[in-house]
């Protein structure tokens, strides 16, 4: 089958065998999405070799439980052992032996087919089109913030970054009724937010030490510095991006201001699908381009452009 292969920080189209993992489901990919983590992986963020891609919607073509066959599904990306310390303590996304679709020792979604345990699959409601369902994984990651932080309707919340993931975070945060402002850099990012009545703020307008919760979604040192200045004493600063290397942090000021610094990664699929089904979020406006899998290299080039939103691959 055709796939997009990553090796030594180099992407190439490659013909590889269909995945065949005993006990798992085989899924024909219908759409896959290019994520910031894909771009970072291709730049060497993590030494991965294999088919990349982890955002997808597809159709089950093989499974031990035949009732799954023909079903349209999305899939959680962490395949877990079920037996380790983390799995036994209800932290399966942190399984010590996990493989991760298109990220850690498991061929991914930018391919004609992928394999995942049936336990990872979620049926997509009929009313949710492929173009929305393909956003389930990043939407779940956005919801992980609310899974970790009790967002109160009275909270002042600042989101820094309005890219691929930032737009979804803005939409989910806006549902909480909190007093949300978003720092966006690019005109079309701003337009998308404004079209949903989500309020923008410029860096100059941000009052220091005033924001109960600040979500840093740029992955950049300057984004973190801005977030650190903005968060109020006893506030929460959520790290919600793919970061590279070490960062310098002033521990003394974290202690004096009693700041909570919180790392946030994969989130829950079921509520993400509920929000899509109920049309409470609309990710489809984020779609910047669609390419056939055969043009995946060009698709990645476009996805790398500054401010670019979602580029999809279709197979």
């Amino acid at each position: 089958m055709q796939s997009l292969w990553l090796e030594n920080q180099s992407l190439s189209l490659r013909d590889v065998p269909r995945p065949a993992k005993p006990g798992e489901a085989l899924i024909r990919v219908r759409l896959s999405g290019i994520c910031g983590t894909d771009l970072e992986l291709a730049r060497g963020y993590y030494p991965y070799t294999g088919v990349i891609g982890h955002e997808f919607v597809g159709e089950v073509v093989e499974a031990q439980d035949k009732t799954w066959i023909g079903k349209r599904v999305v899939g959680e990306i962490n395949a877990v052992c079920g037996e380790c310390e983390q799995c036994r303590n209800d932290r399966p996304t942190h399984c010590e032996k996990r493989t991760v679709l298109g990220i850690v020792e498991r061929d991914g979604a930018h391919a004609e087919y992928l394999s995942l345990p049936v336990a990872n699959l979620h049926r997509v409601p009929d009313s949710v089109p492929d173009e929305a369902a393909v956003f389930t994984e990043p939407l779940a990651a956005a919801l992980e913030i609310q899974q970790q932080v009790h967002l109160q309707p009275t909270d002042r919340v600042l989101l820094i970054g309005a890219g691929r993931l930032g737009q979804l975070i803005a939409q989910t945060l806006a549902l909480t009724g909190c007093d949300l402002r978003v720092v966006a850099r690019h005109p079309h990012q701003k337009q998308l937010l404004e079209s949903r009545k989500i309020r923008l703020i410029t860096e100059d307008e941000i009052q220091p030490r005033r924001w109960d919760v600040v979500v840093e979604a740029t992955g950049s040192p300057s984004g973190f510095e801005l977030a650190r200045r903005a968060v109020c004493p006893r506030g929460v600063l959520v790290l919600k991006s793919t970061y590279r290397g070490e960062a310098s942090v002033n521990f003394s000021s974290l202690v004096v201001d009693e700041i909570t610094l919180l790392g946030s990664r994969c989130g829950p699929f079921a509520p993400a699908l509920r929000l899509l089904e109920n049309r409470q979020v609309d990710p489809t406006a984020l779609i910047a381009a669609r390419y056939p899998l055969a043009k995946a290299i060009e698709a990645f080039e476009q996805a790398r452009q500054p401010g670019m939103l979602k580029v999809l691959l279709e197979t």
Copy 2:
């Protein structure tokens, strides 16, 4: 009056006027305690000039409300404006205009007298001796951890550091019923913990990625590194010490492991006094030496010795 004066990182005994702040209470200090923050201030942690010291028990000698006169008291160290953003949002210890006893623009407790707003004072129950009451402030700081983190009885909790503050943290954490282990360096620190049936652990015995909550109370980079290795995915790492300068942190690993990094400072006095009154904690075993205020310089020299516990000054 006699006082211990800090200026340009140099301590000296100095005769200064009694503090006289309109509307505040004047307190004759009976005992004051030398804290790690005092030692850091004297090393230039923060550019403070004035009388240092913030842990004390004393007796009210002047106050507008005469019912306070003659009462034995301890005092919260942050004197606040009551009107700023932080005060109005129930974060008075983070008041933007706060002065802090012996730390920020307010003469402190290593003196014959000190001044504080009456609102800062707490009466000491008769059954609590001065030698215990003088620990109210650091005991409150220890309790701030439970104020910030929901410690569950099933949690595995690791405390790194068993010095002045660490011993009090160990005693308060032990009350939660959690599975507590403490890393202590010095023999007498270990003996104190063992005498209260608090279990020790060596660095080599610490399983990585296994501890729900890790409290870093050493203030050292090696303590943080150990804490970071020990904390489990989705765990909480509490920064509970006086830190100097910038520290290097791997944001990518904080995100992947979804770690909460939490700064912790001043805590609630009322529950600290309850624990002292009920003899649920016993800080007096921490007293290593008592000096008259006139020998405060020698007292600080002793307090600086590695592993030294509490040195008190009496006036």
